[in-house]
Every structure is written in structure tokens, then in C-alpha cells.
């Protein structure tokens, strides 16, 4: 079985759309979201080769007629799009229309489109389930920057969009059955899981996965609040670092803030499908990137030198043959050199090495007094940014939440003495405990809650670490490793409908086996360590590139996991997400400090 690849799945649909439209000159009509979906998997030059010469938005009104063109409409089935389509068909611009929706569309809407199609321009209406943004082969996102609403409830529209996105993901990966497991402690995850299961069963007669089948898929829905640490850490792998320090949106990086940047490098595209250097170095850490970039530069200089020596005719021929590749290579080299230069400049001026070491030690080791001293030192250091101090304080608050000498307030007081923290950050610090504190989590985030974990941590500490900046392992990795071994506890992560299902489609741990044996007849395999062959993960509240890196590593060792979330967070977007969940209005010392 080939590996799960969401980019291939989306490209397949788009290729099919373009082929079906025939040999004529085509124009692609999209809406705002599908434009991002298409641009992430297809480069413009490639799509031009397939005779798609015009790219339009359905909500932007066009004027004149293009009757000699065929329109391929790739739209999400929202109210606005249907209205816009109806308006378009009443005065059609194009000669013929091939309409593809990214998700289920009601028969009523088809009826309204049919009634509007007086000139009979529409040839085909199909549903092609590409309703998510594919970033890497194992990584997808739904581009929803803020999922939470006040008091951590679902917004109806966002819930519908999320369920639609997940359904389309399952269908595009050609899954016919799946078990849906969700995080028990999160209400939002539970609601989403039930909604998803209902939609699948209703629309498609989706069977719940037969556990004995060889290709058993598990859909795991967890909540970001379970692991609030990962978005707070500074990163050192290429993709994650660029996103954290500069910001990647839809594979585009805005470099206009870089001093001395040339006009053509102000906005660059970083796409692993089309950029070999990037694809090789997505997950390599900062040191490795430096070596690789040096090698790339040397390679480029060699080529350049050989290009300049043109004496014989064979030389001229080889020059002409290799010139287009050379031009592409020079573009790639300048882009990556600029980006890496900017990253190292930022690392230097913000003292990120020192800071990151402190962060990692704070999260993974337990020298309380030492860490407090270090944090106080860093607060006094002018080079460190305000947001990094906020990171440290939040990490400290989460880590030592129930510690005897909790110094969060003291640290905050010191910070406010030397720095002017913006209102947003102060609210964020207040909100983070409400968001991801011990009250909400069910997982053992710092390996302090049971003896097994403590011993594991101790042994890890004794062994020492080979990379002090990569000590932290995100919770999702532990969860997935447990799931792969068949050891993910059912009471913490139940599957949908497990209470009233009687057949063998459920998965029980050995401890619960006896409970149910008395009640209902059960068929299960003799070995209860059933391992899912494929896992599809969705994190409500967003994911990070660090988690994507760990999943990539797991996939390299033979797992088949696809990771996704509502958004790919860096620190800035995470702050907005947490604040949207609601700031606790309890009066406490923080307010007292402010009033001073």
C-alpha cells in the first residue's frame, strides 16, 4: 500500500478536473478558500502547461464575455458561492461550465442552479472532495485561524466547516470505514467526533471500522488544550523555524521586513514539491542547514565558473542546455541564502540560543531554583524580546502550576518592573492556565504524575541528551506511539458510539474486558493489542511544525499517520487563539500589579 499522501490526493482531483474539461482553452474559477487549496499543490507554470490560462474568483465580478473559453468552477458548497454561481449562470461569461464542489451539496442548491441555467452552459456537476489545504504529504490544515469561542464552545459555522473538511479528507484518501476516537476530557472534541460520525453514516453509509480488517483506520480527534506547551517553544528545524521567526502562510513567506532585501525576493514561495533543497532540508536542524547551504553555494559557484568558460562549440552547446536549470538553481540559492541569513541574524539579535536552552530545560528537567534564577537573569537582559519573556513565564506557570514555591507572580512583577508588556500579553498569561492548565488536561504532560513516567524521565536525564535544543517531545507523539502499540486507554480516548454498540467493532483494553463480558455478547480477537494500520489525526485548535516533524520521523519508521489541525500555529497566532477562548475575569494579584 502506498503511503498516505494528501498532496497527491488533491492533485489527482485537480488533474481529473482539467482532463475532463477537454482540449479547449480553460479558465479556472475559484473562491477564496479553494484558491489557497489549488495554489498549495500546483505551481502556476505547471497549470499553464495544461492550457488553463485564466484564474478568476467567483465573488469578484468580471465584465466582458469569454465565450470561447471553458470554465472549470472549483467551489466550496457555501450559500454565498451558490448565489454567486446562480448570478453567473443567469448571464454566463464563459462558453461552457464544468462545476466541481468540494463537499456534499444539497439537492435544493442543485435545483436553484438548474433553474438559473437558461442557456444550458453547464455540462457537468460533480463532488470532488478536496476541501482541505495540503501542506506536506502527511500534513494538512483547514486554515481556520481561531477555533475557540468564549468559554471554549463551538461556533456552528466552524463546526460545520471542520466536519466537512474531515469528511472530505477521509473520502479523498479513499477510506471506506474508520473508527473515530476522541479525547474524553474535551467537550469540543466529543461534539466534533459525534458530528463527523453522524455525517459519515448518514451521507455515505460509512460503516464503522471492522477491527479485524487488515486496513483498519483510526481517526483521532484531540484538543490543543491538552498540550499547550508545544506552540510556546522556539524551534530549530528549518520549516518550523521559518514559521516561528518570519511566518509561512499558504507556503508564502513575506520577507519585506528584512533589511536590504531586493524587490523580487519580498515574497517568496517555499514549496517542497518544487524546490529540491527545501524538500531535503525541511526537517534538518539549524546547524545542518548551514552546512547544506554552504555545500549548495559551492555547487552553484562551480557551475557558474564552468558556465563562464565558453571556448569550443561543445562548451557552448552544454551552456545552452544547462542554462534554464542554472537560472532556476540561482533563484533557489538566492532565496534560501536570504532566508537563512535572516534567521541567523534574528537568532543573534534576540539571543535565541540561550533562551531556547532555558525553555527546553524548563520543560524537560526539574531544577526549580536554578530555572527561576535563569529566568530572572533573562528578564533583566535587554536583548530578549517581550514575547520571549512571556513564553518563559507561561511555560513556568504551566510546569510548576502546583509547585510549592510557585513564583509566577513574582516573575511577572519583576517583568513589569523592567519592561512595558502590552495588554494582550498580560491577558495571555492570565488566560493560559485556564486554557491548558492541570484542571483541563487529562494527560501527563511533564511526566510527573505516575511512577513509571518519573523513572522514565530520570533515566532519560541520566543518559543525557545529544541535542539540548530538541529535548522536548510533543504529547501527540506519545499518544500516537501508545495507539500504535494498541495501548491507548479507552476511558481517556473512547471511540464514538462505544456505549451502545454491541458488536465486535470496538476496541477494549484488557482491564475493561471483564466488565463487558458479563453484560453483552462480544466477539473479539484473542490478541487484544490491535494495531491500527493508518491513523488520521485532527487537533482542534491547531498544530505546529514541530509536531509535523515528529510525525514525519514516525512515518519514516514505517507508521502511516496523517496529521492535521484547524491551523498551523506559531507563537503569535497561538496567542490570538488562546485569547479567543476567553480571559478569566477573576481578580487576582496580576490586576494588583497592574494598578501600581
Amino acid at each position: 500500500m502506498t503511503n498516505l499522501n494528501v498532496i497527491e490526493a488533491t492533485r489527482f482531483y485537480i488533474n481529473r478536473m482539467i482532463e475532463d474539461a477537454g482540449q479547449s482553452v480553460k479558465g479556472l474559477v475559484m473562491d477564496k478558500e479553494t484558491a489557497s487549496i489549488v495554489s498549495m499543490v500546483y505551481a502556476q507554470s505547471e497549470i499553464l502547461q495544461k492550457e488553463v490560462f485564466l484564474f478568476e474568483r467567483i465573488d469578484v465580478a468580471g465584465q466582458k464575455s469569454l465565450k470561447h473559453l471553458t470554465a472549470i468552477c472549483f467551489l466550496r458548497p457555501t450559500e454565498d458561492n451558490i448565489q454567486a454561481l446562480v448570478r453567473e449562470l443567469q448571464e454566463p461569461k464563459y462558453g461552457s461550465y464544468f462545476i466541481y464542489f468540494t463537499n456534499f451539496v444539497e439537492l435544493n442548491d442543485i435545483k436553484s442552479i438548474a433553474e438559473a441555467d437558461e442557456y444550458e452552459c453547464v455540462r457537468v456537476i460533480q463532488e470532488f472532495y478536496a476541501d482541505y489545504v495540503a501542506i506536506n504529504p502527511h500534513l494538512y490544515s483547514l486554515n481556520i485561524p481561531i477555533t475557540y469561542e468564549n468559554n471554549f464552545l463551538w461556533n456552528d459555522q466552524l463546526l460545520r466547516r471542520t466536519a466537512q473538511g474531515l469528511v472530505s479528507l477521509l473520502l479523498s484518501l479513499r477510506k471506506k470505514s474508520a473508527t473515530i476516537r476522541y479525547q474524553q476530557s474535551s467537550n469540543m472534541a466529543k461534539i466534533l467526533a459525534e458530528r463527523l460520525s453522524n455525517t459519515l453514516r448518514r451521507q455515505l453509509d460509512f460503516a464503522s471500522s471492522n477491527v479485524n480488517a487488515p486496513d483498519h483506520t483510526v481517526v483521532l480527534i484531540v484538543d490543543r488544550r491538552e498540550d499547550a506547551i508545544t506552540p510556546l517553544l522556539n524551534q530549530w528545524t528549518y520549516q518550523a523555524m521559518v514559521h516561528e521567526l518570519i511566518g509561512i502562510k499558504n507556503n508564502r513567506v513575506n520577507l519585506s521586513q528584512v533589511p536590504g532585501i531586493t524587490k523580487e525576493l519580498e515574497e517568496v514561495v517555499m514549496n517542497a514539491e518544487y524546490d529540491e533543497f527545501y524538500a531535503d532540508n525541511l526537517y534538518s536542524n539549524f546547524g545542518e542547514i548551514a552546512t547544506n547551504i554552504k555545500r549548495l553555494m559551492e555547487h552553484f559557484q562551480e557551475k557558474h565558473k564552468s558556465q563562464s568558460k565558453i571556448e569550443s562549440i561543445t562548451d557552448m552547446k552544454s551552456f545552452v542546455e544547462s542554462y534554464p536549470q542554472f537560472k532556476k538553481l540561482s533563484g533557489t540559492v538566492s532565496k534560501h541564502v536570504t532566508i537563512v541569513g535572516e534567521l541567523s541574524r534574528l537568532v543573534g539579535i534576540y539571543n535565541l540560543l540561550d533562551l531556547s536552552e532555558t525553555e527546553q530545560n524548563l520543560v524537560c528537567q526539574s531544577n526549580h531554583s536554578e530555572i527561576v534564577q535563569k529566568i530572572k537573569q533573562l528578564i533583566q537582559n535587554d536583548k530578549i524580546r517581550d514575547e520571549d519573556i512571556v513564553r518563559l513565564i507561561c511555560l513556568y506557570a504551566l510546569r510548576y502550576e502546583h509547585h510549592g514555591n510557585n513564583e509566577t507572580n513574582a516573575l511577572l512583577r519583576e517583568t513589569l518592573k523592567c519592561r512595558q508588556l502590552s495588554e494582550k500579553y498580560i491577558q495571555f498569561i492570565q488566560a493560559i492556565l485556564n486554557y491548558g492548565g492541570r484542571k483541563f488536561r487529562q494527560a501527563d504532560l511533564f511526566n510527573t504524575q505516575n511512577s513509571m513516567a518519573i523513572t522514565r524521565q530520570f533515566i532519560r536525564g541520566l543518559k543525557g541528551v545529544d541535542n539540548v535544543y530538541a529535548q522536548h517531545i510533543p504529547l501527540i507523539r506519545d499518544l500516537l506511539e501508545q495507539l500504535l502499540r494498541g495501548k491507548l486507554k479507552d476511558n481517556l480516548y473512547p471511540s464514538v458510539g462505544s456505549k451502545d454498540r454491541i458488536q465486535s467493532n470496538n476496541y477494549y483494553t484488557t482491564s475493561q474486558q471483564t466488565q463487558f463480558q458479563q453484560g453483552q455478547p462480544i466477539k473479539y480477537r484473542s490478541s487484544l493489542f490491535i494495531i491500527p494500520s493508518e491513523i488520521i489525526v485532527y487537533v482542534v485548535g491547531g498544530i505546529t511544525y514541530e509536531e509535523s516533524y515528529h510525525i514525519h520521523m514516525m512515518n519514516k519508521q514505517g507508521a502511516r499517520i496523517v496529521l492535521g489541525g484547524s491551523y498551523i500555529h506559531n507563537f503569535a497566532s497561538f496567542v490570538d487563539e488562546v485569547l479567543a477562548g476567553g480571559v478569566p475575569s477573576t481578580s487576582n494579584e496580576f490586576f494588583a500589579v497592574k494598578r501600581r
Partner: protein, 306 residues
């Protein structure tokens, strides 16, 4: 592939809707009160646009068919070359050699024609079209044809150079082998001593007879090489010209944009000058009015005192 085809439902709905429409059709349009001809100006404009649009599409279709032909010829060439490379070493097949040369000439001339049409298409794209959509459409189409043409030319070059390289390596191997055989041929099978004289004589004879033949073969080889190298130079210059014309397009665009911005900056300058003058004038008028007002006030005060 997971998808769902809703076309049948759609067609059903559409037929039903069209039936409903004809049943409830409003016949007022066909009343005798309406004039025969409509004074609609738009029709002319639409008519004009359509010609233009079809023109570039014709162009595009012709170029695509040319590309298709070139691709077929390149495939044939590759097959012939593969056949030549795998044939027996001593089997000098002049026929397939000449065929290869013929096809290469064909492809070169077709690429030449293609290049002219692609350039014509690009210049047509630069002319301003009826609206921005057409403009973008045609420029995208021109860009795509240009890229395809470059790829084809590159492919042809690579094909040729691979063939020459493989042929060269084969010849080198052959030379090594024949040089060994040459030594063996001249070594006598009965030992060196007795037949040395005879073998020496025959060698001398061979050497004296060879200069003339050698000279002619060498000259022929040189001529052939020169001919081929001139052909290669031709294709190289053609490729360089396409690359440069590619850059020319962007440079032209830059020039255009700069001219536009010069115009708008000059206009903006004029407007600013006018605004400044107006402001100054209004300031002057305000001062004068203020002065008059104060004068009148003083006058009134003066009179009231008196």
C-alpha cells in the same frame, strides 16, 4: 476515486425548469408594438471582440499542432538513434545515417518555423486587448507556449548530444580494440626472426600507399565535422535568441511601467503645484478679508467714540 456525479440530477432539474419556463412564457416580446431592429450599440463591440479572440485561438491551435509534429519527429529520431547505437560495430549502415541526418534537418527547420510563430504570438499578446481578462488570458497562453517551445528545443538538444556522446564513446572503445588487433595482425604466427624482412617490407609499402588515402579521408572527416559544428552553432544561436527574447518581454514590461509611472508622477506634480497655489491664494484672500474686517471694526469704534 471518491467522487459523486450529480449531473443526472442536475439535467433533470434543468429540463423541468426549462419546461416550466416555456409554459409560463411571457409573449409580450412578440407584440406588434415592438420595433424590428434594436438600437443596441453593444452588438457591434461584441462582434469585433469575437474576431480578435478567435484569431489568437487559431494561432494557439496552429502552434500546438506544430509542437505535436515536432514531438513525433523527435520520437522517431530517438528510435533511429537507438537502432544505430545497438547495431553491429563494423556494419556501416549509410542508409540509417542519412535518415538520421534528414530527420535532424527536418526537426531543425520545424523548430525554426515554430520559433517564428511563437515570437509572432508573443508580440500579438503584447498588443492591448479588449479588456483586462483577454489581456491576461493571451499573455498566459503566450507564456505557456514559450515554455513548451523552450522545453522542446532543450529536449532535442539533449537527444542529439547524448547520441553524439554515446557514438564517441563507442568509437573510442572501437579504436582501442582495433589498435590491439593491428598489433596482432602484424605479428607473424611463426615467430619473429625468420619473417621479419618480409613483414618490414610490407609495412613500408603500406605506409607509402596510405598518405594519399589518409589525406582524403582526413579532409572528408574535417569537412563533415565543420558542417555539423556549423549546424550546431545555428541551433545554439537560435536557443540563445529565444532566451534573450524571453528576457526582452520582461524588460519591455518594466519600461512600460516606468513610462506610466513617470506620467503619473508628472501629473501628480502638476496637481500638487496647483493645490499649493490655490492654498496660497486662499490664504491671501483670508488675510485681506481679515484686514478689512479689522479696519471696519476700528472705523465703527472710531465713529462711536465721536
Amino acid at each position: 476515486m471518491s467522487s459523486r456525479n450529480l449531473t443526472s440530477n442536475f439535467l433533470e432539474f434543468r429540463n423541468r425548469a426549462s419546461q416550466n419556463r416555456t409554459n409560463h412564457a411571457d409573449n409580450s416580446k412578440w407584440d406588434d408594438r415592438n420595433p424590428l431592429l434594436n438600437d443596441d450599440e453593444d452588438d457591434d463591440v461584441v462582434h469585433f471582440e469575437r474576431n480578435d479572440a478567435f484569431l489568437w485561438m487559431e494561432f494557439h491551435r496552429k502552434i500546438q499542432s506544430q509542437f505535436g509534429e515536432i514531438r513525433n519527429q523527435i520520437k522517431k529520431l530517438q528510435q533511429l538513434q537507438a537502432k544505430c547505437l545497438t547495431r553491429q560495430v563494423f556494419d556501416e549502415d549509410a542508409h540509417s545515417d542519412s535518415e538520421i541526418r534528414l530527420i535532424t534537418k527536418d526537426i531543425t527547420s520545424m523548430l525554426d518555423n515554430c520559433q517564428m510563430s511563437v515570437q509572432k504570438f508573443s508580440s500579438f499578446a503584447k498588443k492591448s486587448q479588449a479588456n483586462s481578462y483577454e489581456q491576461q488570458l493571451v499573455s498566459n497562453a503566450a507564456q505557456a507556449t514559450f515554455n513548451t517551445f523552450q522545453d522542446l528545443a532543450l529536449k532535442f538538444n539533449q537527444c542529439q548530444s547524448n547520441y553524439v556522446r554515446k557514438l564517441q564513446s563507442q568509437k573510442d572503445k572501437l579504436d582501442q580494440v582495433t589498435s590491439h588487433i593491428a598489433i596482432d595482425m602484424y605479428a607473424s604466427p611463426f615467430g619473429d626472426n625468420e619473417f621479419d624482412q618480409i613483414s618490414l617490407l610490407s609495412e613500408v609499402q603500406q605506409q607509402s600507399a596510405s598518405p594519399v588515402d589518409e589525406y582524403t579521408t582526413w579532409r572528408e572527416k574535417e569537412l563533415r565535422d565543420t558542417y555539423e559544428s556549423i549546424q550546431e552553432v545555428n541551433t545554439i544561436f537560435m536557443n540563445i535568441s529565444t532566451m534573450i527574447s524571453n528576457q526582452k518581454a520582461s524588460i519591455d514590461q518594466i519600461e512600460c511601467v516606468i513610462c506610466d509611472s513617470i506620467n503619473s508622477v508628472e501629473q501628480g506634480n502638476k496637481e500638487l503645484v496647483k493645490a499649493v497655489q490655490r492654498q496660497q491664494r486662499s490664504l491671501k484672500i483670508k488675510l485681506i478679508l481679515f484686514g478689512i474686517g479689522i479696519f471696519i471694526l476700528l472705523f465703527v469704534l472710531f465713529i462711536s467714540y465721536i
